[in-house]
Subunit: 361 residues, 2 copies
Amino acid sequence: MDRIARLRADLRRSGLDAVVLTHPPNIQYSTELRATAGAAIILPGRTVLVVDSRYLSVARSVADTRADTSVERAERSLDEAVVAVLRRENPGRVGVEGAHLPVARFNRIQSLLGTAAAGDAAGPVLIVTERLVERLRAVKDAGEIATLREAARRLSSVASQLRTFAIPGRTERQIASAVDDALKTAGFDRPAFETIVASGPNSALPHARPTARALREGEGVLLDFGGIYDGYCVDLSRTLHVGPESPAFRRLFDAVSEAHAAAIAEVKPGALPVDIDGAARRVLARHGLAEAFGHGTGHGLGLEVHEEPRISPHAPEGEPVLAGMVFTIEPGAYVPGTGGVRIEDDVLVVEGGCEVLTDGI
Amino acid sequence: MDRIARLRADLRRSGLDAVVLTHPPNIQYSTELRATAGAAIILPGRTVLVVDSRYLSVARSVADTRADTSVERAERSLDEAVVAVLRRENPGRVGVEGAHLPVARFNRIQSLLGTAAAGDAAGPVLIVTERLVERLRAVKDAGEIATLREAARRLSSVASQLRTFAIPGRTERQIASAVDDALKTAGFDRPAFETIVASGPNSALPHARPTARALREGEGVLLDFGGIYDGYCVDLSRTLHVGPESPAFRRLFDAVSEAHAAAIAEVKPGALPVDIDGAARRVLARHGLAEAFGHGTGHGLGLEVHEEPRISPHAPEGEPVLAGMVFTIEPGAYVPGTGGVRIEDDVLVVEGGCEVLTDGI
């Protein structure tokens, strides 16, 4: 069953007749249209792509390959064009992407539809939905897995060069630039996010931006980087130490390593994200580092660098991980003023456990 | 008057007691906090930054420099932490950023506040606002102008190298990669968007992504690239021709050049965006290219690469451009199957006219 057919089945289960997709990765996943702006209206029997002039040719070439897909050009605004299609097709209950559609656009579409008044059953009714396409995207198909596996292999080849980049005297920015060059050489279209290189005390900031601070002998350096390969994102962190290690760094590193291994050991179809996260968290707590680990243990990878599933204490209940999901495992511990350690790999859930897609040092 | 003071004055004029900023560039502009997620609650007498553990240190160092600013850590979710602050401070009418806050988050905050029922005047009431901070951001201060001028100078130095990158036999991707390297060498943190290199017929797609197509002798190539320098975005397009020009390319190029000059001639304090756009559009129409110019003439530049003002036929009425605004002028003409031309420069509105910040070939 193709992606739109699965989405239509989910719509029916949710009591919806149609959905207006406005989040570009969700549009791309469902229809193959790549556009930074636009809408895909998934109706029971057909799909309408709404784009402005910039993406008209691209949308038409997508529609040319699917008999049930047509294109509408947004002349004045996207929302007006979407409303025109909804009025014409009058599909009844129409989902919108509540996690992405801004409230002002929702209100405008609602008001253009003229169905804001309760009880007016003449026109389409907007229903705020969440995670419709995101849940489909979380389980990768064979083609996506092949792409992510290849992307992870290439990212590992960058990881294996980190020791040659992280040389005392070089600034964080210079090291980040070397990582970015290596990503390009490894065949990535571009970094998946701004590369993090945090040296010494800066590594205590989990999301530090690279500064002009030079790496010094005898300190740690945290590197977190990702790449987009054929549209798919992979993500990896390593924490190196340059020169003689302090016992404090070694303790932090060993605790995070142990947490990382414990979380990976927990990953298998049916495991709950809170339990995978909990495995890492328990190890760090045992080492007295409960307070030092403030973020979640992992996040899904795919068309976006942060997607479902979330591996965190606040993950939705009753939603175990499934075979075909790909996500990061990245526990960390951060001690303000001293430094931090994060170790991150990408895993694919397979029958009975998981395959670690990344390696390198 | 500092930025938050101006924002507070605008809030009062809009009948609001407070605003919850959730759009990261608006948070950064107003409070100097740089975080990919978080909220800034601007109350009458004080500001509360709400962040998760990742940005706690960064937020605290911002708060340390301002007596009226404090930090709240979001333990479970950002929205719950925001609601806790609003309940405690009970500011009355609270604006939210309608162009950015997703409708599902708006509904969740509304429901957590428990004030969804009309007439319940006990707690804060959410009001959907738009463009509160965006309008302040549109007029640059002296520091921002200095940064943008320097960024534009550096971008022009990249533009002046384009002839050495766009060599027949090189693929669009290779040429884009050379542009990206030059951006880095010129001191940009990173490209402001994915560099566009569109050769021959591909240049008829205004937002083509670079492909493996090799540039050929005797055809045009459209290059559109930007960089982020010290947090500020600049943007430039050139269309080159390699080898002997066809009369068709020359006609297109001359028409777009003329439209570009006509739009720039229109820019001065008090001019309406629709009239600046109209100046370019009229020239292209006169050359029989009305249909070939499907996008707007320009967009503001600043912390974002697309911001206010919009220079388009659909710009808000009654909002003239003002001294200190910085935006692109980028008319284009695209002929499917044949090719396209776009010429883009960045201008600063000054008394009596504008200063063109970019140059290069």
